[in-house]
Symmetry: C2
Subunit: 327 residues, 2 copies
């Protein structure tokens, strides 16, 4: 049995910022003080033309490699998660592979899409590849350029920010990766998304606004506030882990108040989670890797040896995934 360990991380966040005040001026919509107080979001990072999903992913990947002292050819697999892809086809991952110079060794790559639930899911897939024994170093990357799909006319669009995060998972004979728990309910498929797909990518689709992110029916806050504690309880039960063993939980960085409520429900202190929305906004598929990297950089993962680290992610569709490591 081989276990996966996180050995490195990296992130990329576009330089350009739009504050809440600027958002209000641009859209003529009032979002404050709700956005800073309830969602924890003060500003968003806006990718420019050069900062495509593949570009940002490659930058985060290069930094994770650098932090690990590794070369692109040391990677055995790259898994990229996004629901803001560079193109319909090919997938985004091979472009990133080329941008970081991993194409010379023909490093295998593929894209995964479970929308913003990607963070925990990619780890689960990567760990299973490592468990098979054939893969030494697997990189997972989440990249998010949702501001490019915004109409800038609804207050809820203030949620979104761009960025990318990457982790390198490596084979270890000591635990290591524990496992994952998932659930999904496709009856929510029509609620929120970018509905321009096969058969709709035409002028008529654009006239209908399908090329923009569309909130048709909001998800209730309970989807996460009840779903997350339930999923974490399931995880603890499945792998016979006590709440006391939890060292840190990285949640989808979607709503500060929800994370606080969930930690309360779990009867865990707020020190056992880390929030980055105040710094980076909400970055979808990238956010839990960015949160991990930020926690690591701020020495928050010291003294957690032997503790359990969880990634709890949610995405439209909808899908929820929790996965975790013995640190």
């Amino acid at each position: 049995m081989f276990y996966a360990k996180i050995i490195s991380s990296g992130l990329y966040s576009p330089e350009k910022i739009m504050t809440n005040e600027e958002f209000e001026r641009l859209t003529g919509m009032k979002i404050e003080p709700h956005y800073s107080e309830v969602l924890g979001i003060n500003h968003r990072h806006i990718s420019d033309e050069k900062e495509t999903p593949a570009f940002m992913a490659a930058e985060a990947a290069k930094r994770a490699l650098e932090n690990a002292g590794m070369k692109p050819e040391d990677l055995d697999l790259i898994i990229l998660g996004t629901d803001t892809p560079e193109a319909i086809s090919p997938p985004t991952a091979p472009k990133v592979q080329y941008l970081i110079g991993a194409n010379k060794k023909e490093v295998p790559v593929f894209d995964v899409n479970a929308s913003c639930a990607n963070g925990a899911l990619l780890i689960d897939i990567a760990a299973k590849y490592i468990a098979s024994g054939d893969y030494e170093n697997v990189m997972v990357i989440g990249t998010y350029a949702m501001t490019k799909f915004l109409s800038w006319k609804y207050p809820w669009e203030a949620l979104f920010s761009d960025g990318a995060g990457a982790l390198i998972l490596s084979k270890s004979d000591k635990p290591g990766y524990i496992g994952g728990v998932m659930r999904a309910d496709g009856s929510w498929w029509n609620n929120w998304g970018i509905y321009m797909g096969t058969g709709k990518m035409n002028i008529e689709g654009i006239e209908r606004g399908l090329h923009k992110l569309d909130l048709r029916a909001p998800y209730p806050a309970t989807v996460n506030e009840e779903g997350w504690p339930m999923m974490i309880e399931r995880f603890l039960q499945k792998y016979r882990i006590t709440k006391e063993e939890i060292g840190m939980i990285f949640f989808t960085q979607v709503r500060k108040k929800s994370i606080i409520n969930v930690m309360e429900k779990l009867e865990l202190p707020l020190e056992k989670t880390h929030m980055i929305m105040e710094k980076y906004g909400y970055t979808g598929s990238a956010c839990v890797y960015m949160a991990y990297h930020d926690a690591y950089e701020n020495n928050m993962l010291k003294n957690l040896e032997g503790k359990v680290i969880l990634f709890m992610t949610s995405g439209v569709g909808y899908q929820q995934v929790v996965s975790g490591f013995r640190f």
Copy 2:
């Protein structure tokens, strides 16, 4: 150690057909006798408005369930592969989960995109989930609606057809799934694709034709004709399997002549492969599952017990994956 076995399959092919003659009439381009003789393609199946990627996937999935005598709630995971997605976000898989009624049990789902290399890759991922011990029955689905991305003005567009294929893999304590070998080279990313993605989904993108499949620089036939035998040799070497143990190879159904050349290079008789492009056209992510189902239906998989069955798939980006079972 748990192994995966294929226990069932199903396919869906749209009723509407366009013959080579009709293609020539529509486009004013001559494709014959090249298409029927070299590519093995006489006609293509054209999905109608109702036959979206999710719809076709759900139909193939229902048939695979029916053939297995299983209910949707018997599935523990659904992995869907496509590069013609229903939408940008959410992924296609949760919609399919809902359409087949697997949402009631909240069956986990996610999309994978390694373009037309999806067939062998999804099997590899599914088998790793089964190997972990937590997943009993995993469905893999490939769906393809590429005709909806065609301009109907280039002769190479005659290649494409629509359809979906599904397999159910189940846990077994006897081998079973053997493993997979992959490679990718993202320096080919710009050659062939549907380049409308993040930042380009707008009127300007449509004016530039990015919403249509675009062949910018053809792949040489050698990519498959040299790549496939090399990948199969690597597989045999890695898992210490002799050529004589091969019972059947399902290749990406892209070019009849290439498959014949590859079987010659491998010194294997043509009976050890199965081609369906004459019946169904080229159906990308769906084609190897459709070929498997067709071979099964035609009793071609009888008497292969103990033999090795391979799936060898290629896709733009590019990516190549071979995976195999002890049957």
